[in-house]
């Protein structure tokens, strides 16, 4: 009897306990009438001397590491070529599951996956893509040497495309004799592409870095049962240095129109592509002792009307992941965080525009809190979203600009330490 009664009481008690545990405390309609106002402050500060160093580094990403290769022609302003190396070419083909040695070639063509630009950037006039044999024993990554190899006696193929035919993949026939010679002798084939057009043109192709390179397609037999041979780019030079030779399977060279470096200007993108490195000095009383709610890197854009002034590209602020042990800025700029990491957002900018641009970097600045600069350097990089694939170049005034008002600065909005919570 005693235990039974105790059981009932405990059961009822437990039910009420559980019911009593649920809470809903959210309210706010009574404000401000019932909410005593105690002002705390949100402070807004612009620190002009916050950028202690900034620099532009040309040639990033390094040659061969571009996600896309860029074939461009802008008259006398810009001329870029694409080099593809096929240092090993298959010597057999398959027919009805039987391998046969290639002794003749019916067709040989370059299959180039075209990365479609938006409709504003597409060519409006026919473009001709010429393929040249650019194999040489000379230093073959130097554009001045390679440019001399684009001559008529080395032309191995060309094709003119109507604007409407520039869709997803271009097929450029090349000399079957040249290819057969390489196949039979087991030697390498290195092709240089050049674009010719009556108007300025920019074409982007996939590269080995994006796993969609320009391949060599060989049809060794007219028999429909014969499988075409597809040869992917491969570089075997420099010898025994795979970390260097690998990326050189395909790359872009600038024959004419390299972007110049001016100390008063920070350049993002362009040809060869460039990145910007910036180092900040933000007082620890702000970083460590407050809560930052907004951090805007304010840069004044300088109009650059040399190339595609109206074609917008994205400029990304990125975290520099290299620590202070990496003192070479160019090396640091190769260790960057992913786009969007720390909530860093891009800006779409046209090279020909001007004005103050605000990059919101609060997510990155917050990571500096409580961290010494030896662990979390106060640095940031700017990179073009079309680096290596479009010539657009976005320029900003640097800290060396004559006019102080246009130099980079950092605007920080923060919540100071307050004695909140005391009624």
């Amino acid at each position: 009897m005693y235990k039974k009664q105790l059981g009932w009481v405990l059961a009822v008690g437990a039910t009420i306990v559980i019911a009593a545990c649920s809470e809903k405390t959210e309210a706010g309609q009574g404000c401000p009438l019932l909410c005593p106002q105690t002002a705390v402050t949100l402070a807004d500060t612009t620190i002009e001397a916050s950028v202690v160093s900034d620099t532009t580094v040309t040639g990033l990403p390094p040659i061969g590491n571009e996600t896309y290769t860029m074939l461009a022609s802008h008259g006398d302003t810009l001329d870029t070529r694409v080099i593809i190396r096929y240092d090993t070419i298959q010597q057999t083909y398959s027919k009805s599951n039987i391998d046969s040695t290639i002794v003749k070639i019916d067709t040989a063509q370059l299959v180039a996956p075209l990365v479609l630009a938006d409709s504003l950037r597409r060519p409006t006039v026919p473009v001709t893509i010429e393929a040249y044999n650019v194999d040489t024993t000379a230093t073959d990554t130097v554009s001045s040497i390679l440019a001399t190899l684009f001559r008529p006696n080395r032309l191995i193929g060309s094709k003119t495309f109507a604007p409407e035919s520039l869709k997803d993949t271009l097929r450029i026939p090349i000399s079957t004799d040249t290819v057969l010679d390489r196949v039979k002798n087991g030697t390498r084939l290195r092709v240089g592409l050049r674009v010719v057009s009556a108007k300025s043109v920019d074409l982007r192709f996939g590269s080995s870095q994006s796993a969609t390179p320009i391949t060599l397609r060989i049809k060794a037999s007219l028999d429909t049962a014969a499988t075409a041979v597809s040869v992917s780019p491969l570089s075997q030079t420099p010898k025994d240095q795979s970390f260097l030779s690998g990326p050189l399977a395909d790359y872009t060279i600038v024959v004419k129109g390299s972007s110049g470096n001016v100390p008063t200007i920070l350049g993002v993108g362009g040809v060869p592509s460039r990145r910007v490195f910036m180092r900040f000095n933000v007082p620890s009383k702000i970083i460590d002792s407050t809560t930052v709610v907004r951090a805007s890197l304010l840069l004044t854009q300088v109009p650059n009307r040399r190339l595609s002034p109206k074609e917008s590209v994205f400029v990304y602020p990125l975290a520099v992941l290299a620590g202070p042990a990496v003192t070479d800025v160019a090396s640091s700029l190769q260790f960057l965080g992913a786009t969007g990491q720390f909530g860093l957002d891009s800006l779409s900018l046209a090279p020909g525009d001007s004005g103050v641009r605000s990059f919101e970097i609060v997510g990155l600045v917050r990571t500096w809190k409580g961290q010494p600069t030896t662990v979390s350097p106060r640095t940031i990089a700017l990179r073009s979203g079309a680096e290596g694939s479009l010539p657009a170049e976005i320029d900003f005034f640097s800290t060396r600009a004559a006019l102080a008002a246009v130099r980079p600065r950092l605007r920080i909005t923060f919540v100071p330490q307050t004695s909140y919570g005391i009624p």
Binding site: G28, C31, L33, T41, S296, P423
Partner: protein
């Protein structure tokens, strides 16, 4: 003073129960610091009353003579065996203003109590009760002016958990059958976990943030009580003398004040078997807490008066079912928008024993109306359930 992010629970076991800066910084109001959005838990919080469920059933009228209410230390002399008591008390509150009515639910565990006789007519007890409960969450939208005419809409949420507790070690002596005297030592403790979250409509430029801060309370007090018992009347009186009270954050002392002193007295007619009809009044100088808060905080010295009865009702088997009712009027400790808040409440309750008297259960229902000279009213239903066990 440093704020910090922490997941540490601020509620204890009884807490819920109861360079070159070239542009000068532009200061603008950003958020509020103590928003409760109701009438009852302004300032340092709502006084749950330190009443047992049984006392609540009578509107608090028998609190001075109720041994389960940690008010009068002399009352524990009534215990002739070891006993444990626990109480839970959810409150369902609605606040009506010109902008509408909001409903909230707050869970409280306002009294935990244990007592045991130690011989020579002396009984000792240890209890923890809620002195002020500050638990609340307030969200509101404002537009922040940053500079140069720039503004951003934002939402601020203030979440406050915890309160100030009264931990009492008490002893009572019964030298004569008609006299009980008692004394208590009080440790005033507890904390508020204050969480401020602010988010912005423009999330591309502004990043939301959360700050947390723990406000700790530490103080002391002493109390004395007396009961005179006759066959017809029980007269009780008690007083608590507040010592110093410190408010700190982390290891930084923010402010000092005094624990509110309190005295109360009641007289009850007990001429009917198992029945008590009582009237009680008490006074508490909450203004002593004023120095603990900001300049705008106004503590109000408050009277708390009630009348009620605890009646022997019908018998079920061999157990008596008690029926209780009462009315209470009191002033709440802190003003809302410079206006004093008063509370009127009606209560009803019941209680009985189980397991050969080893288990006592009580249930009370309280309907409270709170008002001030403001276009806002507050109503609350409070369900109180108490259980005591004699091991």
């Amino acid at each position: 003073m440093m704020t910090r992010r922490t997941n540490r629970r601020a509620r204890g076991w009884a807490t819920r129960s109861r360079m070159l800066v070239v542009v000068p910084a532009l200061a603008v109001p950003a958020f509020i610091a103590g928003a409760q959005s109701n009438l009852s838990s302004q300032g340092f919080g709502f006084p749950a009353g330190q009443f047992s469920t049984r006392a609540h059933g009578t509107g608090g009228a028998i609190a001075e003579m109720d041994p389960f209410s940690p008010v009068n230390p002399a009352t524990i002399g009534a215990f002739n065996s070891r006993i444990l008591f626990f109480q839970m008390e959810p409150e369902y509150r609605s606040v009506s203003t010109a902008t509408g009515t909001e409903r909230t639910t707050t869970a409280r565990y306002p009294v935990v109590f244990g007592a045991m006789p130690v011989g020579n007519n002396v009984v000792m007890s240890l209890s923890a009760s809620s002195l002020l409960d500050r638990t609340s969450t307030t969200s509101f939208n404002t537009t922040q002016i940053i500079n140069g005419g720039q503004s951003v809409p934002m939402t601020t949420t203030f979440r406050i958990n915890g309160g100030i507790e009264d931990v009492r070690l008490a002893a009572a002596w019964t030298p004569q059958p008609w006299l009980r005297v008692g004394a208590g030592l009080h440790g005033i403790t507890g904390n508020n976990l204050v969480t401020v979250t602010q988010s912005f409509a423009d999330s591309t430029q502004f990043a939301a943030f959360t700050q947390q801060r723990v406000l700790g309370y530490h103080g002391t007090a002493g109390s004395l009580g007396v009961q005179l018992l006759t066959s017809q009347v029980v007269a009780s009186a008690s007083g608590r003398l507040g010592g110093s009270l410190r408010l700190s954050s982390e290891d930084t002392l923010l402010a000092t004040a005094n624990v509110p002193s309190q005295f109360g007295a009641s007289i009850a007619y007990v001429g009917i078997a198992n029945t008590a009809i009582s009237v009680r009044t008490s006074h508490e100088n909450w203004s002593a807490l004023g120095g603990l808060g900001t300049q705008g905080l106004v503590g109000v010295d408050a009277w708390d008066t009630s009348v009620g009865g605890d009646f022997a009702g019908p018998k079920i088997g061999d157990r008596i079912v008690y029926l209780r009712t009462g009315y209470r009027h009191r002033t709440l400790p802190f003003q809302a928008s410079t206006h004093t808040v008063t509370e009127n409440s009606f209560s009803a309750g019941t209680g009985t024993s189980f397991a050969n008297g080893r288990v006592l259960t009580d249930l009370a229902l309280i309907r409270a109306s709170r008002s001030a000279d403001l276009p806002a009213t507050e109503h609350a239903w409070t369900l109180s359930f108490g259980i005591s066990v004699r091991p």
